[in-house]
Symmetry: C2
Subunit: 485 residues, 2 copies
């Protein structure tokens, strides 16, 4: 159909190309072909323009036009991710001068781009990122952002589980375990006690006190294992005795706190009638993970460890499938999706190739690309301006005080009683006080469940930021860099 | 507040732990602490249950309950991803016996889980994955799935751009370029000619013939560079002369086809008044990428190449930011988001550390985890049952015939004229006929724009599957494995 132009001549010239033909023949042929193609297209077009197509259905939208009332979900999501990644990086650079871990920059970026700052200073700019409820009337942008953020959080928790060295955890001295449990139980009880004060003000009659107190207790008991590990590594403390104890305690804390939270979610979500189902399901799931998945993974990973080259597709697809499946299972049981992903990471043998490949490969896409959706989503829900007036700020200060007293104080006390020096005990307490991203995950769950109000959510976000931001500088002051080397 | 139990005694026994205390003291202390904690919590609870919280606001939802009419977006998205990953892997295993690349399994899984099979056989099962429009009345699940799928496609196109060796492209013999252009122009003209027959039946009066013909032409001209490269590598042909020519042609095809498609989208989306803006914006963007981004990236990556250890945060965050930014820029200009990501990948120096790290690290999360959302989304939109009746299937056959005639025929013809043997020409034609994932991306753009109808979309999906699935077996027949070694 297309006329084949000059290339047909087989003459071989000086400027011969790989296929033995002078270059100008090729160029001429190409130009001829292009011209012929364009001419043919216009001929077709000339004829085709006269064709009559069936009448447009009544619901047909004009070609290429966005239907009015429909929001460009993908555009908003991409813009939001780009904004949080960009601002988060820049803020992180600034905060690094104050010894802050990068996560602080990203959390603050999310909050600043949300209703707290950008939304009140330049709403039209904020709406190019996250449209107002009037524009996003069907909540599609929020839903998409939430889905991506949850995907990021699930992958992140899986990675946290992978980093957890269960062997080291089991080998810990009982005393360190005692420190760890004190550092959970003290803030938990203090948090529950604080709930007595907060409940009549910031809750409402639809929320049972038990759920509220359980949640406040668990939220206070959280330690951000990954950020703590990062601070220790940054400071070169991870191989010291203090570092080992801190890592062990934080890991034990993480496991306990997530179990506690699973309980909270179970209690909050279930009517008394199906509370047993939740408890039974949780026990069955944990048993399945340890009695079936763990041996299975040990067996499979031993086979994969022998191979070289990339992991087989079964290992890769299988792991991703398992992450999603475990998340879904715990979600359906009534304990949160993150618990399943975390537990799966924890039962994968720590030194297997699968753990190492996923740690290195998944880390950047999960934390740098997908987690910003979580920071944006958290920022979108954080309305700092709700914490207005002296009274609210005093309560916010009380929350911070109780959080620090529980975690820092509890750990300091237990460590001191277990024979650590004052300085080391204080350092351990400071480290355990890091709440970071983990706390935000827990707070979002609480807000989703309706256990805490947006005002309390904003206060707790401030507390999480405060406790995380103080860790590195206080540690720097307690153990100056020269001594830690 | 918490009574500190037995651990206070400092006796050192035989079963001493790391901190010099007998084990039973620790255990006793732990149990005591736990009991004290639980008792304290119940005391708090007893008192707290009597507290009165402010009355619930009228719009308060019961704690932990999903509001009726609201759909569990995250649950549906995770379930869908898990289903496509799982089924895609299993189908891929089955299809591998027939020499098929894994992508076929995933595409088919997406279609089978959509309305074409699961939706008509077991709708209630299908709705646990993708809820019906009645259940997902606000389109939130569809929006979330679309956002994730677009993110996957953008990352994928970035990776395709990274794999593109522009140096090799520039070094190609002119004859190979002539083959490549013939293999674009012939199917493009044939596709446009076929549009003459399809337009009066499958289009409607709201779609201008020019947009329709341009789209059909571009859709026919697509070659799936990554799948072609994978088939060549699988067969050990990538270092042969045939393999080199095929890779060069396919890369040139990709660039040309995406430029063509950018034109199509521009034409379809713009009123005549802002067509100039689109064209101007596209030229400005391409110029920016080559004149500003490329030298900048060369300079930066030279610095990063010298370093060892992980890439600096600026390189990682910066690259992710750039991917999103370029996608957004091309989307706003009016050519599709994938074009920006692809172009960014192409201008990053091919052998730089940044290209290599991103190729290895991003590949699995992007293709194994996020792209399944694209397969699910495509499957959700593919309604094979729309292609009912002999007439429709005959048109579907005609589309396949024209697609093969254009791509396989055009390549065979041009390669033969350029002095390749019949066998090699046929092999080259077969390889260029692979359309795979690329075609699906293009088809989804067409459906989004409203240029093609769901019926034509389904037909074109069948065509894409057919041309992709025939490549490996035909190649196997043309060049049996023993000869290719």
């Amino acid at each position: 159909m297309v006329p084949e132009p000059a290339v047909a001549s087989g003459v071989s010239g000086q400027a011969a190309t790989g296929l033995g033909r002078p270059a100008w023949v090729g160029i001429l042929g190409y130009v001829g072909l292009l011209v012929a193609g364009v001419l043919l297209f216009f001929a077709i077009r000339l004829y085709g323009e006269g064709l009559v197509a069936p009448t447009a259905p009544t619901d047909a939208r004009p070609v290429g036009q966005v239907v009015s009332g429909q929001v460009d979900v993908v555009g908003h999501v991409i813009a939001t991710l780009a904004a949080v990644i960009g601002c988060g990086y820049l803020l992180g650079r600034v905060f690094r001068y104050f010894g802050q871990p990068p996560v602080i920059g990203e959390v603050v970026a999310g909050i600043l781009l949300g209703p707290s700052l950008l939304g009140s200073v330049a709403p039209e700019w904020a709406h190019t990122l996250i449209p107002s409820e009037a524009m996003d009337s069907r909540g599609q942008v929020a839903a998409a952002l939430k889905a991506i953020s949850q995907l990021g959080v699930i992958l992140y928790m899986f990675l946290v589980g992978l980093e957890l060295n269960t062997a080291r955890l089991a080998g810990r001295a009982h005393a360190a375990v005692a420190v760890s449990h004190t550092s959970i139980i003290v803030p938990f009880v203090l948090g529950a006690a604080l709930a007595l004060g907060l409940y009549p003000i910031y809750s409402h009659s639809g929320v049972p006190f038990t759920s509220f107190a359980l949640f406040m207790g668990s939220a206070m008991a959280i330690t951000a294992f990954p950020i703590l590990a990062r601070i220790l590594t940054d400071r070169g403390l991870d191989k010291t005795e203090l570092g080992e104890i801190a890592l062990g305690c934080a890991a034990a804390d993480d496991v306990s706190a997530w179990c506690l939270l699973a309980l909270v979610v179970g209690v909050a979500q279930s009517q008394l009638s199906n509370a047993l189902w939740v408890a039974g399901g949780a026990v069955a799931f944990i048993a399945f993970m340890f009695l079936v998945m763990r041996p299975l993974l040990k067996f499979a990973s031993r086979r994969w460890d022998e191979g070289t080259g990339p992991l087989p597709p079964l290992a890769v697809s299988g792991t991703y499938f398992a992450i999603l499946f475990c998340s879904l299972a715990t979600e359906k049981i009534g304990i949160h999706a993150v618990f399943g992903a975390f537990l799966l990471g924890a039962v994968i043998p720590h030194r297997s190739r699968i753990a190492q490949e996923f740690s290195t490969r998944l880390k950047e896409p999960a934390t740098v690309l997908l987690l910003p959706a979580f920071f944006a989503y958290t920022g979108m829900r954080t309305q700092i301006n709700l914490v207005g007036g002296l009274n609210n700020w005093l309560w916010c200060a009380a929350i911070i005080l109780v959080a620090v007293a529980g975690k820092f104080g509890g750990t300091l006390f237990a460590a001191r009683l277990n024979g650590l020096s004052w300085r080391d005990s204080a350092a351990l307490g400071t480290l355990m006080n890091t709440r970071g991203l983990m706390e935000l995950i827990v707070l979002n769950i609480g807000l989703d469940l309706g256990v805490i109000s947006p005002t309390l959510f904003a206060m707790m976000v401030v507390m999480a930021l405060f406790t995380t931001a103080t860790t590195a500088p206080v540690l720097y002051w307690l153990i100056p860099p020269k001594k830690s080397a």
